[in-house]
Symmetry: C2
Subunit: 672 residues, 2 copies
Amino acid sequence: MDISALKAKNPDHWTRACAIRALTLDAVTAANSGHSGMPIGMADVATVLYAKHLKFDAKNPKWADRDRFILSAGHGSMLLYSLLYLAGDPQITLDEVKNFRQWGARTAGHPENFHADAIETTTGPLGQGIATAVGFAMGEEILRARFGKKVVDHHTYVIAGDGCLMEGVSQEAITLAGRYALGKLVVFWDNNGITIDGKVELSDKTDQVTRFRSAGWEVIEIDGHDPEAIDAAITAAKKSAQPTMIACKTHIALGHAAQDTSKGHGALTNAEQNTAAKQNWGWAYGPFEVPAEVKSWWEEVGSRGAADRAEWEERFAALSDSRQKDFTRQQDGDAPKKLSAVIRALKKQISEEGPKVATRKSSEMVLEVVNPIMPETVGGSADLTGSNNTKTGDLGVFDVDSRKGRYVYWGIREHGMAAAMNGMALHGGLRPYGGTFMAFTDYARPAMRLAALMQIPTVFVMTHDSIGLGEDGPTHQPVEHLAISRATPNTLVFRPADTVETAEAWEVALTQKGTPSVLSLTRQNLPTVRREHKTNNLTSKGAYVLAEAEGKRQAILIATGSEVEIALAARDALQAEGIGTRVVSMPCMELFAQQDEAYRKRVLPAGPVRVGVEAATRHGGWDRWLLGERGREAKQDFVGMDSFGASAPAEVLYEKFGITAQNVVAKVKALL
Amino acid sequence: MDISALKAKNPDHWTRACAIRALTLDAVTAANSGHSGMPIGMADVATVLYAKHLKFDAKNPKWADRDRFILSAGHGSMLLYSLLYLAGDPQITLDEVKNFRQWGARTAGHPENFHADAIETTTGPLGQGIATAVGFAMGEEILRARFGKKVVDHHTYVIAGDGCLMEGVSQEAITLAGRYALGKLVVFWDNNGITIDGKVELSDKTDQVTRFRSAGWEVIEIDGHDPEAIDAAITAAKKSAQPTMIACKTHIALGHAAQDTSKGHGALTNAEQNTAAKQNWGWAYGPFEVPAEVKSWWEEVGSRGAADRAEWEERFAALSDSRQKDFTRQQDGDAPKKLSAVIRALKKQISEEGPKVATRKSSEMVLEVVNPIMPETVGGSADLTGSNNTKTGDLGVFDVDSRKGRYVYWGIREHGMAAAMNGMALHGGLRPYGGTFMAFTDYARPAMRLAALMQIPTVFVMTHDSIGLGEDGPTHQPVEHLAISRATPNTLVFRPADTVETAEAWEVALTQKGTPSVLSLTRQNLPTVRREHKTNNLTSKGAYVLAEAEGKRQAILIATGSEVEIALAARDALQAEGIGTRVVSMPCMELFAQQDEAYRKRVLPAGPVRVGVEAATRHGGWDRWLLGERGREAKQDFVGMDSFGASAPAEVLYEKFGITAQNVVAKVKALL
């Protein structure tokens, strides 16, 4: 392609954008891996966005009222790193750029939020960025409604590629954004017509413009290499009451031998071709070299927001002390001091009253006392509000004309919900939780994993957590989902046995800053097993002795959630036969594993036989506690599931699958 | 709503459709759970479809050339059970209908394919039906091209609700169907405007008509209670070269007090209201009673296809013997006899040559010899063809003008690919496999779980299976995904160490009839560790002794896949120090667990210390083999991952995360 017309028409812009292109070629070549074509193709869009529109202060990347920029096409990470380096971000230095994709560098293969303050979210798994951005934009709406335009008033910009738009989660995202009229969300579609396997049309002929309009979006179609068109489109998008998709016709790897080919998508490391590309661009500088006047122009761009920020600081200072404190506490993710008192009071009341309720209902009881003192919580459900018990009286409903509402009807979009919740958590100022059936962990998985990787405290309220769900059958009955979440690093999985443990689990979840929580909650009613009030949060220890053996301790039953009741019944039967039996409730294996060895040994001493009870597969981390951490501790067995469930009433299923006190007793006796 | 006009206009149709409505009310009432509203709302559509269009022979539900009917909105299962019972399906008897949602009944809460021949696929997790249907329709195209219209020529009909269409996977499905012009796919959208949480507009305002058109579909909008309009729409849809969506405006729970409300979605069990509904419908019969003339009309519908089928049998008999045999073998899912010889020959050659290749490449080498002798295989990749190595020379590409092509460019749609592969497997006659990066198991999970539950042998080719992927970083590096698939019942997870084991793994996978397989394959090159040719398939044992200890056996190293090389290097170092060390390769834990105890004990005798090595979390079933199945067998340790990975070259990552022979040696010595 002859790019001389582009150069000639806007020579200054061209050179500034080419700094991104050249840095990309150099960094990918140095790493001998990465994706060159996208940053080269989208350099014009990014340059205009940063230069003329994006509200940011490069030296203060965490300024609360900055615009958010999300690179959903995360493989094009060098676009982001180039922008940050050029604009003077203190963390993304030239050395970091040179260390692209190396151990310890902030410039990882895909943008990872925990490596640099200016990286808003982790992307790479396609579609996640655009879906997470919905939560950013929703969060902005909620906080603007609450704190006012003077303090919260910013846009969320996204660059998405064809891969993002082909992933199903993008449909969930764009229909949510359209439904909730997230007018401050702007998505640039890098319409380069290329995927890894070849041309987009090889696998897709979707009319994206019509598709976005069908979801209620404004769409503007432009030449993605025309800076004036880009500028005009962004200006128009900012005025729209609906979210805007700017379809940018671009050339992947513009001006390179690999332009407009799938080869251009990947690592362009051929020295000769790269030299030719730079010549073609008119870029006459050495590797990683950016001429001073170009760099200083970019640094001016990076400091353009400093004045905005200073004004914002003044406006913020004009808020009342308590408003400032609230805002700061919520931004920092600190739980209110009152939280533990409120939880303790509820525990006390529950221990006294001893209600028999499903833990999904227990969760609602907790939320009823927590939501009023934590205005940062945002609840929701993927169309199972009445089943997940996630909506409390005071929340209000988030909608186009009620932006203060703190409850989101997510529709039947578990994946979009999970990703958007992550976006709210990343945005700051909000603490999202959302519900679905636990079996649909499967749908939400990509975003649940990202929550763990991104170190954010999203709370996943997963109800109907076993065959106890009953008649809906095996498609709706989780058996491996505790294992899935427990196998995921940096994830707390809680399976509380009653309302007291549910309250304790929520307390731990709501005080996390860097770890997501999964609450595994029952459909069926459970008795209160914690009838003696303890001020301490026993769940925070992961496991504890719920009932001590009487007489010689011959057996330890370890159970979670709904099976604690079964373990207690089995203990009664065993004790009646003179077999001293301890019951350990283990609501959170991860927290128990974090306790010191002395505590773990106290709870699970070597010697007595051990039987675990959980209506799920043994794969959920059980071997460690049953076989013994040191491998020589106890004879053991497990009562649980080793197949999918079935459709029948819950009590029938527990009986048929042998998850009964009788069976636990039999197993213990067989081991003695 | 006044339904008298509906009754008056088509009284016979009305009564026949009301048989579905009444059976639904009765079955849900008896079960005291279920979903009444959808079958009541869609009874008219289903009646016209079955009566006038659906090609089926109720007494021969497995007739290969039947039309497929897929209830994507699986919660409305009583619609399907009513139709099957009424039409005279031999398995769905009145007793089964009366036992709706009870233990042992074929009439599970959601339709489950393994309970009755006429249930084409398992639905319930929303969106799965429509996505699976894409595979059914694609399979029909491929087989029609191969065997001719006289033998294969049928439609795939789907009923989908708003839930199905809100799930992201539906977007992947409809864009695939549009791209590949699956003209024989017809989707009825039950446009009743209601979800569980309330009106659809509470969470969604998508213009579905425009959306489907943007994906290349024909769309016809009708009144879903007008039998003539339904008939005309189906007639038009059957003529379309593109897939057709028939938007059926319906009333959920038509004629019941709960009509047009979210209450109507669930179980309608109020006796008074149900009596009133039946009166309103003009249905004057007792519970589960269907008047003889209505039942016999339905049975005529059910036998209408018998003549078609008989003619088809004649046409089929006119095929050459070898064509008949091929067709039947492929429909039965039997592997060709030649398969094991071909695999053995490849193993022999590899053991002799000892190439150093990535197992993703090994997989391609296997497919190069397998695909030519198994015309039933259909390969594909979610836009990672060159990385997954799933395309072999002879497959051809499936496209609008090349229906015989056996390779599908699925685009960036892991979930849609997995579901459509399931559809091909369920359709019969095809054996699908498809690739993506293993970390994107997360995207495909809902369909992978269903493959296991549905007992179908879909093969998931998951490459780049550890930190060995390198620079793309932790978003692309699986650490918990072996655990996820291993925790899933009825799933074989293979992690072969070299080309020989890869060939053995494929042989096992390709001979499965009721179990899906996950192949965990490396990006990085691995040496051939099996240099001595064995005709037996050692991988089919799950684990075996790869290298025996010399001298006194003090240690056993257990490893999988890319870490077998590390275990062998550690063994060399330990043996050099006089520490007798056995190496066990464990390519498939599930198969090893299925061996008898004597074999397991021979491979893993009590006594020697054990160290496991796998570049993944220990949660992947390791404790059982390390701590000892009986809990008192060995001192043990594990070398693997306990966090997410990072972005850096693969060899650096192995070093930094300590997955090295040196570290294995150190662990062994610490235990001795």
